[in-house]
């Protein structure tokens, strides 16, 4: 398939770019390990003062921290580098060439730069989630596990769609090169269950900048805290988000006249 071939080419080019800076990758992995230790230490400190936070045990928070790592990895490996490329493209006019290519422009903008070695973060996330869940006493059922997986994917799709909308806004407001700052600043809220936050912040991280939808919500489904209608509701929002964001992208890109024009 055309799209898959292009994606493979992108990945190959990105891999070559990354491998040109091998000591950089080693440094980043050391830092990532260090932050992992930091996180475990911080959870250790919190739980040396309390047996649970808002009903969540330390193992559940370790699983949550894995979920957060997944979202954060998505931010670092795809959202940040591609936003940077996109903003530069708008500023310098090089984005024009991208629209000339026989390739879906939204797809192109999303995957042009992928920090491949960040797959490491996904691995760490999987370990955290697996270790956390297998140690927490929660008894879970097959339907709960399925809704956990579905909601994790839904959450990532919703965050992806929001990102597309945010960068598409640049077509209308060309000076909006802080487009993802709020999104990345709020990512850190995903390290704790959204239920610890005061109502106003919970609303923000669930509906405005929906970090919690990919972190807290799937784990809530796993804990059996969500009703069927809520799960279906989130999936429906995910589908709508994909549709609306690609519409906004299309309308915006048609409006785009280019910096050089």
């Amino acid at each position: 398939m055309h799209i898959l071939r292009v994606l493979r080419a992108f990945i190959r080019v990105n891999l070559q770019q990354d491998l040109a800076y091998r000591s950089d990758i080693a440094m980043q992995i050391v830092l990532s390990l260090f932050w992992t230790l930091w996180e475990i230490a911080s959870l250790g400190i919190i739980f040396s003062n309390t047996p649970s936070i808002a009903g969540w045990s330390i193992w559940e928070l370790i699983a949550l921290s894995g979920m957060w790592r997944l979202v954060n990895g998505f931010m670092i490996s795809i959202v940040w580098p591609n936003t940077e490329l996109f903003n530069r493209g708008v500023r310098e006019g090089t984005l024009d060439y991208m629209f000339l290519m026989p390739l879906n422009s939204q797809f192109h903008v999303s995957v042009r730069r992928i920090t491949i070695w960040r797959i490491w973060d996904v691995l760490m996330a999987a370990i955290f989630i697996a270790v956390g869940l297998s140690n927490s006493a929660q008894i879970t059922t097959l339907p709960n596990i399925i809704s956990f997986v579905v909601l994790t994917l839904t959450g990532l799709v919703i965050i992806y769609s929001l990102w597309i909308v945010l960068i598409a806004l640049t077509f209308w407001f060309t000076k909006f090169d802080n487009n993802v700052t709020l999104l990345s600043a709020l990512t850190n809220t995903g390290r704790f269950p959204a239920t610890v936050y005061p109502a106003w912040l919970r609303l923000i991280v669930t509906f405005v900048i929906p970090i919690a939808v990919a972190t807290t919500v799937p784990l809530q489904a796993l804990r059996g805290e969500l009703e069927v209608w809520q799960i279906l509701g989130f999936v429906l929002i995910g589908v709508l988000a994909v549709f609306v964001s690609s519409r906004i992208w299309k309308v915006g890109s048609r409006k785009y006249s280019g910096a050089s024009a």
């Binding site: 309390t50 600043a185 709020l186 809220t189 106003w200």
Partner: protein
């Protein structure tokens, strides 16, 4: 000398005023961590009455006091100076008869803070209304904390600047910088009031400079320290300030020599 600083102030203020709309966005980075930790600790305190003697209100008051202190004493040298070593534009500043970091970068730091404090005030008032903590700040404690804030800022500025200078040898200094930030979050009192750290970590944190620009001014302002503790921490500030200034000068001199060797 004063005229030099005044000029740098005018240039930096005018430059950053251009980007005032972006300040709201940058402020988000400063706001998120304290609000997250505030929420976590108040949730814990509410569930069990108190954490080691600290009530939910104590945590809210602590973090709301910490917010402006964090902005006032943190340093952004890495962001506004680091790249100049990397891409060589530092050469332009080296031919001037002023110290690039102790004049331009220092003033740029301060003007950035002044602007972002203007943005913080309305947001802080909203946060105050949302959390409604009982603050224990008095006029006396506030005045007492002013020298602590100034020295705290200078300590964090010198420490961050010295680490930025590692780039003279490694071109990029984000590695040591991230370690510095991580250690800072844990040991400055941002993640947790230091009294809640486990025994050994607490002792280490109290001797290291990190708490001198966050935990100490916050607690001093909130009337939480005994006269002995205040005297001890002020003493520590003076010692660290001198030590870091000397270290900064040494590293700067060695680095400059290295830099000209590369560029020349």
């Amino acid at each position: 000398m004063l005229t030099i600083y005044k000029r740098f102030w005018q240039v930096n203020w005018a430059e950053q005023w251009q980007y005032r709309a972006n300040l709201f966005m940058y402020l988000a980075y400063w706001l998120v961590a304290p609000i997250v930790y505030l929420s976590v600790w108040t949730a814990v305190a509410r569930a069990q009455g108190n954490v080691n003697g600290m009530t939910a209100n104590d945590f809210a008051a602590y973090y709301l006091t910490l917010l402006p202190v964090d902005i006032l004493t943190s340093s952004i040298t890495y962001h506004i100076f680091g790249y100049k070593i990397q891409d060589g534009t530092l050469s332009n500043e080296l031919i001037r008869p002023t110290h690039p970091i102790l004049t331009n970068t220092l003033v740029s730091n301060i003007s950035f803070k002044a602007l972002i404090m203007l943005v913080l005030i309305p947001i802080w008032i909203v946060l105050y209304a949302l959390f409604q903590p009982t603050l224990t700040i008095t006029l006396g404690s506030f005045l007492m904390a002013i020298p602590a804030l100034i020295m705290g800022f200078l300590i964090s500025f010198l420490m961050e600047s010295t680490i930025t200078l590692i780039a003279f040898w490694t071109t990029r200094a984000y590695g040591p910088m991230e370690l510095f930030w991580a250690a800072g979050q844990m040991l400055s009192g941002q993640f947790v009031p230091l009294t809640l750290l486990p025994g050994v970590a607490q002792t280490i944190a109290k001797v290291l400079p990190f708490q001198l620009w966050m935990y100490f001014p916050v607690q001093l302002m909130s009337n939480k320290l005994t006269p002995q503790e205040i005297a001890l921490n002020y003493g520590l500030q003076v010692v660290w300030l001198i030590a870091l200034f000397v270290l900064f000068r040494i590293v700067w001199r060695a680095g400059i020599r290295k830099f000209s060797a590369v560029g020349g």
